[in-house]
């Protein structure tokens, strides 16, 4: 084989190797750094790229997509000396491939350690209750601190989330008991309050009832009195009217009224089923007899209308023949 033969073969191999070394296809989502004699010169973005073979070399292939890393479990002592176990996740994205490649060594480890120490300092400044209830605030504070810290590395931390906060088992148990006691307390207070309220209401009802009853009695008494007054008034008026009638000389009419009432009363007395024997005082009979005498006196006194009075007296005497006169005239009203 001649020298030219070998030269031609080697030339072809050289060209192929050179092309392979010079043409770079960077996939989407990655940035490649280029080093010239070991020194960073440029960053290749996704797509087809040409570099100078033999001088340039691909340094690091940096993932430019948002990545998630687990923040491992660690024990954190809160401000009130409770030991809680905490883990989380961090989301970050590389914005500057060169800085991410050369400003920091072992990028992920750096982020993890940075986040862990900051979790400790943020949660260590809070009470256990705060730690458990202010997760958003913790995330926010962590994000601000860690994001500022990773800034020189060409990254941005988009999110840090505390996943689990686990207090020790005995503390959890105590918290459960505390919550239960609190609820029981609330229930007891509510029950007592209800009882108090109901008793007050009941007493008020009784009070109101008594007041109303007393008022009713008062009202009834007033009305009774009024009724008595009215009846007295009516009697007085009746008496007045009778006496006026007498004054007008109609004595026989008076006799008639008395006799009429008497007979009615007597009739009622006779109708009574268990009263068949009626005892009448002698004086009653004589008083009845005297009525005629009163009529005569009135006639003699007033004179006027004597004929009518006599007639009336005669008519008035009719009931006296069959029955006894009443002891007292029946009350009116």
């Amino acid at each position: 084989m001649s020298g030219f033969d070998i030269f031609a073969i080697v030339l072809v191999l050289l060209v192929i190797v050179t092309l392979v070394a010079g043409v770079k296809t960077v996939p989407q989502g990655y940035d490649w750094t280029i080093e010239r004699f070991g020194k960073y010169t440029q960053t290749l973005s996704p797509g087809l790229n040409l570099i100078v073979p033999y001088f340039d070399r691909v340094g690091r292939k940096i993932n430019m997509m948002e990545q998630v890393i687990d923040i491992p479990e660690q024990e954190v002592i809160t401000k009130d000396n409770a030991t809680v176990t905490v883990d989380g996740v961090a989301f970050f994205q590389v914005f500057d491939a060169a800085k991410a490649s050369y400003e920091v060594s072992n990028l992920q480890q750096a982020i993890i350690v940075l986040t862990m120490t900051n979790i400790r300092s943020v949660m260590g400044s809070m009470d256990l209750d705060q730690v458990l209830s202010h997760r958003d605030e913790i995330n926010e504070r962590l994000l601000r601190v860690v994001d500022a810290a990773v800034s020189p590395w060409g990254l941005k931390v988009n999110r840090i989330e505390i996943k689990d906060i686990v207090p020790p088992a005995d503390l959890v148990e105590a918290m459960g008991r505390q919550m239960k006691a609190e609820r029981v307390k609330r229930a007891d207070i509510l029950q007592a309050e209800g009882q108090r309220q109901s008793e007050i209401l009941r007493a008020e009802g009784a009070k109101q009832g008594q007041i109303l009853q007393a008022e009713g009695r008062r009202e009834a008494a007033f009305r009774d009195a009024e009724a008595r007054e009215r009846s007295a008034e009516a009697e007085a008026k009746a008496t007045q009217m009778v006496s006026e009638a007498i004054a007008k000389g109609d004595v026989a009419a008076l006799n008639y009224f008395i006799a009429d009432k008497y007979i009615k009363a007597f009739g009622q007395l006779a109708d009574s089923p268990n009263q068949k024997v009626i005892m009448l005082p002698v004086e009653a009979m004589s008083m009845l007899g005297s009525l005629a005498g009163i009529g005569e006196i009135a006639k003699a006194t007033f004179g006027d209308g004597a004929a009518f009075a006599a007639g009336a007296a005669r008519r008035g005497s009719v009931p006296t023949t069959g029955s006894a006169p009443p002891a007292v005239p029946p009350r009116q009203g």
Partner: protein, 147 residues
Amino acid sequence: MTDMFVSLGTWNWLIFGFILMALEVLAPGVFLFWLGLAALLVGLISFAIAMSWQLQLVMFAVFAAAAVPVWRRLARPTPDASASPFLNKRSEALLGREFTLEKPIIDGSGTMRIGDTVWRVAGPDTPAGTRVKVVQVDGANLTVAAA
């Protein structure tokens, strides 16, 4: 074996060229396509002009090397055509958009809440509550100016 290559003569180049092009499809790297093209070219020329195989090899090497500047010229008209130009470029997507500052910018730097996260911003000292516009991005650092 060698006898076979020799007996095929010029056809070797065409076969070689097509094999390279097929390989390009299987393992994309673009340069294999240009090597294949160079091989086809060498084959066509050696059909017309009789050449020694060594010369053919040198020609192939020259064509392959020449393919790079040719390809660069052809590729230039559509440098970065992409359906979503802001893929993986979250900060560039914010360029020109307006936001309200939650915290003031003091001594030229501060933070600004955009969406679900907090961005570092730089710009003239501005009190909180001012509307600002993203005028420049550099990685994850945004430069803002009063809108």
